[in-house]
């Protein structure tokens, strides 16, 4: 395969500022993604979620997205019609959001939401769609998928809701999955189960995965490659296994500031934010 799955060159996202003009929140992000696990790490406000949303075409109204190249599997995402873009979303590119409490429809049974997603992208009968939805719930290790199919979002735990969300995003068999903090709202133990499911699916289906998170430790243990973002820019791109030799002071700072079991450091090292990082 010559073309990468996703090619992003000089992506910029800007929102109108109150004083007039625009505030750039993503400032020239470039990367290429193949069928691999790419992590995007940064603090709140670093532009990591905006990058993911821009790829999907989900930038909030008023926002301005420009890029030299924004290409998915040979398709120029900036040239296609909104309708074609919509067909891609949920079909060939899917996104998992942070909190299942807010991203699931509260007044529709979980199973029917999965059926809806499938039927929006594939022409299948209701009966087949129902079977596929139950299979999908089973694939994310939900014990009693028939029962969960009929439940509403408020009747399931956070971990189960997030699994249902993953099932929904994967039912149309996307080629690219963007996961925006998929496990931040979950308990540590449940977090790992959800990651194991994602990991298995990526390996089995050969999907590309963009994993957006503020947790450098988690991302580096899960992804192949990590982009570190600060103030709308990629400050470092690094293989996950080489994180301990990070070159940029910001990456090192992020890596060091979390308390670690068995390493008593009082006080904890904090980030000394230098203005030149944001240039």
């Amino acid at each position: 395969m010559s073309d990468p799955l996703l090619e992003v060159d000089n992506l910029r996202v800007a929102y109108p500022a109150r004083e007039g003009g625009f505030n750039e929140v993503v400032r020239g992000v470039s990367f290429a993604l193949d069928r691999e696990r790419l992590g995007i790490v940064g603090e709140s406000g670093s532009g990591k979620s905006q990058t993911g949303r821009a790829i999907l075409g989900l930038t909030a109204p008023g926002g301005r997205v420009t890029a030299k190249t924004l290409r998915f599997a040979g398709l120029d995402l900036q040239a296609i019609t909104p309708r074609e873009r919509r067909d891609l979303r949920g079909g060939r590119i899917a996104m998992i959001l942070q909190d299942p409490k807010f991203s699931l429809n509260p007044v529709m049974p979980i199973g029917e939401q999965i059926v809806e997603t499938l039927r929006a992208h594939r022409q299948v009968s209701r009966r087949v769609a129902r079977e596929r939805a139950i299979e999908a719930l089973a694939a994310v290790q939900i014990d009693d998928p028939e029962r969960v199919y009929a439940l509403h979002a408020h009747e399931v735990s956070g971990g189960m809701g997030q699994r249902a969300m993953i099932a929904m995003m994967l039912i149309a068999e996307p080629e690219l999955l963007i996961a925006d903090e998929p496990t931040s709202a979950l308990d540590v133990t449940v977090q790992l189960q959800v990651l194991a499911i994602l990991d298995k699916l990526v390996a089995e289906r050969g999907m590309g995965l963009i994993f957006i998170s503020h947790d450098l430790r988690l991302v580096s243990s899960f992804c192949d490659r990590v982009l570190v973002m600060y103030a709308g820019r990629v400050v470092e791109q690094i293989a996950a296994t080489e994180l301990h030799d990070a070159k940029h002071a910001y990456t090192q700072g992020l890596h060091n500031c979390a308390p670690q079991l068995g390493a008593a450091r009082h006080p904890l090292p904090t980030l000394d934010r230098r203005p030149e990082w944001a240039l």
């Binding site: 194991a196 988690l218 580096s220 243990s221 992020l254 308390p259 009082h266 904890l268």
Partner: protein, 254 residues
């Protein structure tokens, strides 16, 4: 803000909501000036223990009392509430969105009839590293870390002896979390405060606390010293599972 220290003693605490036993027979002691942690997953009852201590959840059975203090007070009384203050998890939800920092900090002083509000507010802001420039801002004008500092200032302004910390850093970025943890540690040293901290993150709890309790389904599973936990000397399987989870994702060997 110096004075006597207070510990806490909890005996057979039990909290029931509509027939559901959220906390079942939990007992522990926090020595005056100590830091005690509670870890567990959501629904394990760890936050409910804190809420029961400060009177936000009803006690079905059991007793609690402050120890080692020269000013004993009954749980639930005004004097008790002045000595025991709480910092909540989410600084986006625990500060009134339409009140300025000044008003947020003045309210506990007004409730407890403490004079000298001006100077105390100024001092509390300096104490948490913000300075008086933040005094007339609204919460939406502050970042998450700054908001949590305000929540800490609000708890400290009454000069309590015991601080209940309910996941004080889990809504914050890792870099900001380090700053808030350092602040909490410095404040404890400076004022001889006693901490009771709840978190799902073992590394955070062991960083701040010397002893901790692991909870699962409303019950105490294990009591362990932070040093033993760091060295892996734990007895319960559940604690071990939590420890494994805190390291990060480990791919199963295929």
């Amino acid at each position: 803000m110096t004075g006597s220290q207070a510990g806490l003693s909890l005996q057979g605490l039990r909290v029931v909501f509509d027939g559901f036993v959220a906390v079942d027979d939990v007992s522990f002691d926090v020595e005056p000036g100590g830091a005690f942690g509670i870890v567990g997953e959501s629904g394990s009852g760890k936050s409910t223990v804190l809420r029961a201590i400060c009177g936000l959840a009803p006690l079905a059975a059991g007793s609690l009392q402050l120890t080692g203090t020269t000013e004993p007070s009954l749980p639930g009384s005004k004097a008790f509430r002045r000595q025991v203050q709480m910092v909540f998890q989410d600084p986006y939800a625990s500060l009134h969105p339409r009140q300025t920092v000044d008003r947020l900090l003045a309210e506990p002083l007004a409730i407890h009839g403490v004079g000298d509000a001006e100077a105390r507010i100024e001092r509390a802001l300096v104490e948490v590293g913000l300075g008086s420039g933040y005094r007339f801002r609204y919460p939406h004008q502050l970042s998450g870390g700054q908001r949590q500092r305000i929540a800490i200032a609000r708890a400290l302004i009454l000069e309590p002896r015991l601080l209940l910390l309910d996941e004080p850093t889990s809504a914050l970025d890792a870099s900001v979390q380090a700053e808030v943890l350092n602040l909490l540690e410095a404040l404890r040293e400076r004022h001889g405060l006693t901490y009771l901290m709840v978190s799902h993150d073992l590394a955070v709890v062991t960083h701040l606390c010397q002893r901790l309790m692991v909870m699962q389904r409303g019950r105490a599973v294990e009591f362990v010293a932070a040093a033993d936990l760091a060295a892996g000397r734990v007895a319960a399987d559940y604690t071990r599972a939590l420890m494994k989870a805190s390291v990060g994702f480990a791919r199963q060997a295929a």
